[in-house]
Amino acid sequence: MVIDLDRCSGCAACVVACQAENNAPIIGPEESAKGRTIHWIELIPYIEGEYPHIKARLLPRPCMHCDHPPCTKVCPVYATYINEEGLVAQINHRCIGCRYCTTACPYTVKYFNWYEPRWPKEMKGSLNRDVSIRTKGVVEKCTFCHHRLLRARERAKAEGRELLPEDYVPACVQACPSGAMFFGDLNDPFSTVSRLSRERRAFRLMEELGTEPKVIYLSEGM
């Protein structure tokens, strides 16, 4: 995934799209104040520079899907692991809720279900059936909408053709109104994301930790 910060307007459409797509529970203002909101992609506000050359910025942060994730190493039950596609997957039905991965992740992308997830009655009918609902006491996180990949693959198979890059796009990328997010195969040298990742503006979060994130940011112009 590539996120062009120059194009990002900080509208949070990605956050909303993700909430709806992945059945993130609605926890209410009180719990939210305690820091218990679950959003798999988050807009992180940060301050760059020092006065008087100071700038407030926003950074959309999904799971980095690291090549060397600190979280998978510490999970005692293989509930989080790197799958065949290279995505960091999370098996909610195996997770024992020890929260070791949540403390080990330097990007804090992992969320814990402090309570049984709840929705207002009106919303129950509009939950996404492709994404399983988590129980209380387990960890969850961004999957790059892995269920969409499964869907796309099945459709391609039914139509008797190869899977095309445009068949599979996560909800956040699809929803981005300013076209700041790109998704594709980084291993394919001719894909858009591959080309963008070689741009001079390209950087990854906390590269020095050796986690090798698969989310690449394009820095904002000054």
Binding site: V74, I96, G97, T108, E116, K136
Partner: protein, 445 residues
């Protein structure tokens, strides 16, 4: 009286008293403890039904009191086995009346260490996934393995020296005859049995030391193996082991004080025992300071911004009361008490020990929580304040431990009778002989 003499119970009769007679104060204490435990059980039931949301935990402070308790209780457990093993191997004669009370702490308190981890799980019903899908790259599994070995080894190590005493009870106590007969394993005190027992105890004493050290090292690895600031530190292994022995000795001194008072064992647990343990505790106080100093000075000198945020949150920021509380309880209070012969009395060591126990709980808290408050990516400031559920469960764990310890003293003698007797009968001569071998000019070939 005649009967007792015949069975050789007259001497050390006081050691059998707690097993024979149970007075009102016992039942009174028992009911208070049971009340606290029931309250904690209610609190846990509440948490089990509603989820971990009833605690003060949140994102990013995913770990709090339960993990603190886990490290703390495992630390206390180092009292027994390790100290008793070292004293046995060093042939310290003053060990004889204190080893048992130390070994019991180890075995019993381990359950609460493990229990706190289980209570910290979001899905305790899935805990067997750890066996079904074990992922041995995770330090948590190293913990599971080494604690299991430790529990087994220290249980055996507690049981072996109990055998001759159980046989004594089998022959004299009258009640629970069958129970004692089974666990006495047919002991009748022959020379051959004695030789075997001593061999087995010596073997276990040696085995248990590396196991105990591994346990607390691995506990520290849970933190040190992550790349989080002020956790990712190579000194954590030995730092945790030293802290564990530190709090363990303190726990032992408190337990011995209580046993001495309650069961009138003034003749068995003498000022010299408290003095010697006090000196050990003093050494550990200094060692603890040394480790703490090294840990923090390297962070300060390096001055990495990420580490410094957490450093200052401990020194002057939000966690300053905890940090300086820890320093006062672990160092400022016990050091002068233990340093002077005049204050290193029974009461003096008790005060120092209680202080150390409180201080070491704070130390664990100060290690676990502050690191989590400031993740690398900016985050809204979240304040972690433990709720009544967490405090109730801590109180419940402590009460349950005391309860089990009390019950143990009602079933088995808390001072190893045969070892005390052996000390009286044999070791005087043995020690004399041993000293002879040290000295030049006294002809032993």
């Amino acid at each position: 009286m005649i009967e007792e003499k015949k069975f050789g119970l007259e001497e050390d009769a006081i050691l059998f008293e707690p097993i024979r007679r149970t007075g009102r104060p016992f039942y009174f204490t028992l009911s208070i403890l049971v009340a606290v435990i029931l309250w904690a059980a209610l609190a846990y039931n509440y948490q089990y039904r509603h989820g971990l949301g009833v605690t003060g935990l949140d994102r990013p402070i995913f770990w709090g009191v339960y993990i603190t308790n886990f490290v703390f209780f495992i630390g206390i457990s180092h009292a027994g086995t390790l100290i008793s093993a070292i004293l046995r191997l060093a042939k310290a004669e003053w060990r004889r009346s204190i080893t048992r009370s130390a070994e019991v702490i180890t075995v019993l308190v381990l359950f609460f260490g493990v229990g706190n981890i289980l209570m910290d799980l979001g899905r305790p019903d899935r805990m067997f996934n750890i066996i079904r899908y074990s992922q041995f790259q995770s330090p948590l599994l190293w913990d599971v393995s080494s604690i299991t070995v430790y529990l087994a080894a220290s249980s055996i190590y507690l049981f072996l020296p109990l055998i001759p005493d159980i046989a004594l009870l089998r022959d004299h106590a009258g009640k629970w005859h069958r129970f004692y007969r089974i666990f006495a394993l047919g002991w009748n005190g022959t020379e051959r049995q004695h030789r075997r027992l001593e061999k087995a105890i010596a073997f276990m004493a040696i085995l248990v030391i590396p196991v105990a050290i591994s346990v607390h090292t691995v506990v520290s690895f849970v933190f040190a193996m992550t790349i989080q600031p002020m956790w990712h530190s190579a000194i954590f292994g030995p730092y945790f082991v030293a802290g564990a022995i530190f709090s363990g000795i303190a726990g032992l001194i408190v337990a011995m004080n209580l046993i001495r008072k309650v069961y009138h064992l003034e003749d068995y647990l003498r000022p010299v025992h408290f003095n010697n343990l006090g000196i050990l505790l003093l050494i550990m106080t200094l060692l603890w300071f040394y480790f703490t100093f090294t840990e923090y000075i390297t962070v300060l000198y390096g001055g990495e911004p990420l580490h410094m945020i957490i450093f200052w949150s401990k020194f002057t920021g939000r966690f300053a009361p905890y940090f300086w509380g820890m320093f006062v309880f672990c160092f400022v209070i016990p050091l002068p008490i233990l340093a002077f012969r005049k204050t290193r009395t029974i009461t003096g060591t008790l005060i120092a020990s209680i202080s150390v126990i409180i201080g070491m709980w704070l130390e664990r808290f100060v290690i676990v929580v502050p690191t989590l408050t400031t993740p690398r990516l900016p985050n809204e400031t979240v304040i972690y304040s433990p709720t009544w559920v967490e405090w109730s469960i801590l109180a419940g764990c402590v009460s349950f431990f005391i309860l089990l310890y009390m019950i143990f003293t009602k079933v088995f003698p808390i001072v190893s009778i045969w070892e005390v007797r052996e000390g009286r009968e044999k070791s005087m001569a043995e020690v004399q002989e041993r000293i002879r071998t040290y000295l030049p000019g006294i002809g032993i070939e």
